[in-house]
Amino acid sequence: MLSFFLRRLLLLIPTFIGVSIVSFAFIRLLPGDPIMLMAGERGMSAERYLELQHQFGYDRPLVVQYLDYLWGVLQGDLGQSIVTKRPVLQEFFTLFPATLELSLCAITIAVAIGVPAGVLAAVKRGSFLDQAIMGTALVGYSMPIFWWGLLLIILFSGVLGWTPVSGRISLMFFFPPVTGFMLIDSLLSGQAGAFRSALSHLVLPSIVLATIPLAVIARQTRSAMLEVLSEDYVRTARAKGLPSRRVVGLHALRNALIPVITTIGLQVGVLLAGAILTETIFSWPGIGKWMVDSVFRRDYPVIQGGLLIIAGIIMLVNLLVDVLYGLVNPRIRHAR
């Protein structure tokens, strides 16, 4: 198992180098000169320009610049934001908990509803319930989530006035971040109503972000269950006289979960892509919004670093999913 893990980790190295080259090269291709951008409206003298170019190392050959960059990355130095002048990694770590909190809520909703819905649809295959669940799932799967978010805002914030439109918590509350998770921090702060406020800010973005993963998980669970339900061992379980609940919920589901876990893992990429839109709509101060803002501000080091970190996260999660896949599948766990 450990050697399996290490082998997979080794395989990631060329991909990671590729990712770093891509994110490095992108920035060199972006139109607009970062130094001119720094100067802003004021402009600058030719000497000052060359001086700055030298200071940032932009006058050296690209290969040298890349190796220098890679060396920095390996030491945890992703450069500095042009706009805020803060280290990219530090910015990332301040914003990441917001995205993580949102993503965790979304995936929890998606799994908690998607898996049972898929199981139900498979068990009642062909029924009205099955068609209703699968129809809904297909709508969710086809949903332009940026529009879905706006619709929910119109309904819940506009018409009903239940939920706030943007941000993570009402401005009335302030407390220092401890965990970075607003739900937990608000509880720790002990301020009355803070948790409620945090929760009400979290609900709509979570639903929006959960929509597509939920649909995908429900569809995948249904098809995995259908396949498993026709297996011989399910018949064996029935032949033992076990109640349906146990046959479906234990014998079948345990096997069907193996491919579903892979699907759930693959949703991390979907979540991070979805975070770009969701966070923009709800002004959620996470890394998705950070990336969009940086693209508009042409904050090259941030785009570069953000691309690298996000790709790194996805690669790492995929690796973890592979490991988890091995853990839940005895055939792999006990191989060799």
Partner: protein, 333 residues
């Protein structure tokens, strides 16, 4: 009272091309301590009839019968809950593919103990002890260690032994074995058959052995039912059947056995079992029967008398000669 008593069992599947009758008016009686064999080619509905008895058919199947009783309980009218209390406990079944019949995600021990705990309410310790005992009973070496093995770590023969152990867990009164040796190596086949027969003798349970292999029948069974295209075509004691088959299909099956072959070339039965779309009129076997007449092609044959093995034939054979057959009548007269 018989252990299992089935009268006029019919099973129909709903398919995209309309209903398909897989089992057609089958009668079956199994007594305690008896080995009954059901023989037939693929598609003869022999497994389906037994799956119907166990209540294991998918929802596309419709089961009807005049009577379907097990050990005095009417299986037709009982609730699903009551039926689950019998299935797996008093009436157990093992299947053709041992490798895929065990759940790959759970250890063998878990799967055996599950039955014990569910039906008999044994606690952990008692279940474990009984599981070890069962594993020993079915001839698995190092039972304690094997209990924690996963199915993929075992061979086909070993898996089938585990399946048998699982089926025997609650000391069933009836064991249904659906082609238990078909998927196994030839050497293992004999071992598993011996095991089954031995266990049956020791416990006095009824055993229904479904097979397409006449050789298996000859070695193990006491009574034989021959099925063709969902219908029962003959029913006899095994000795009598091998000596004097009354249905042309049985006769053809026996002639196809290598050890009974008289010529250099092994005789085979031409054609295949009719399917949904090509069911012949009259006798279902007529397109493949060498004695078939126009009468056979038009009129559905009745069951012959018990002495004639209840053969489903217009001209049941007696010592290889079709009785009442026009061609043979002329030859005789």
């Amino acid at each position: 009272m018989s252990l299992l008593d089935i009268r006029n069992l019919t099973v129909e599947f709903r398919t995209a091309q309309g209903p398909f009758r897989a089992v057609d008016g089958v009668d079956l009686v199994v007594d305690q301590g008896e080995i009954l064999s059901i023989v037939g080619e693929s598609g003869s509905g022999k497994s389906v009839a037994m799956l119907a008895t166990m209540g294991l058919l998918p929802w596309t199947a419709t089961v009807t019968a005049d009577r379907m009783a097990f050990d005095g309980h009417d299986l037709l009218t009982m609730s699903r809950r009551e039926r689950r209390r019998i299935v797996g406990r008093d009436m157990a079944m093992i299947f053709q593919e041992p490798m895929t019949s065990l759940n790959p995600c759970f250890t063998v021990g878990f799967q055996i103990k599950e039955t014990l705990r569910y039906h008999l309410g044994l606690d952990r310790k008692a279940a474990h002890e009984r599981a070890v005992e069962l594993m020993r009973q079915v001839g698995i070496p190092e039972p304690e260690r094997r209990l924690s093995a996963f199915p993929h770590q075992m061979s086909g023969g070993m898996s089938q032994r585990c399946m048998i152990a699982m089926a025997l867990a609650c000391k069933p009164k009836l064991l249904i074995a659906d082609e238990p040796t078909t998927a196994l190596d030839v050497t293992i086949q004999a071992q598993i058959l011996d095991l089954l027969v031995g266990l049956q003798r020791d416990s006095g349970m009824g055993l229904v052995l479904i097979t397409h292999d006449m050789g298996v029948v000859a070695e193990t069974a006491e009574r034989v039912v021959v099925q063709y295209a969902g219908q029962q075509v003959e029913q006899q004691d095994v000795k009598a059947l091998f000596e004097d088959p009354h249905h042309p299909y049985t006769a053809a099956l026996l002639a196809a056995l290598p050890e009974r072959a008289t010529s250099k070339e092994l005789p085979s039965i031409p054609g295949v079992v009719p399917g949904q779309g090509d069911r012949p009129t009259g006798c279902l076997f007529n397109p493949r029967c060498r004695f078939a007449t126009d009468h056979c092609r038009k009129v559905v044959p009745p069951h012959a008398s018990s002495e004639m093995g209840r053969a489903l034939c217009h001209y049941p054979l007696r010592h290889g000669v079709p009785t009442g057959h026009p061609a043979h009548m002329e030859a005789a007269s």
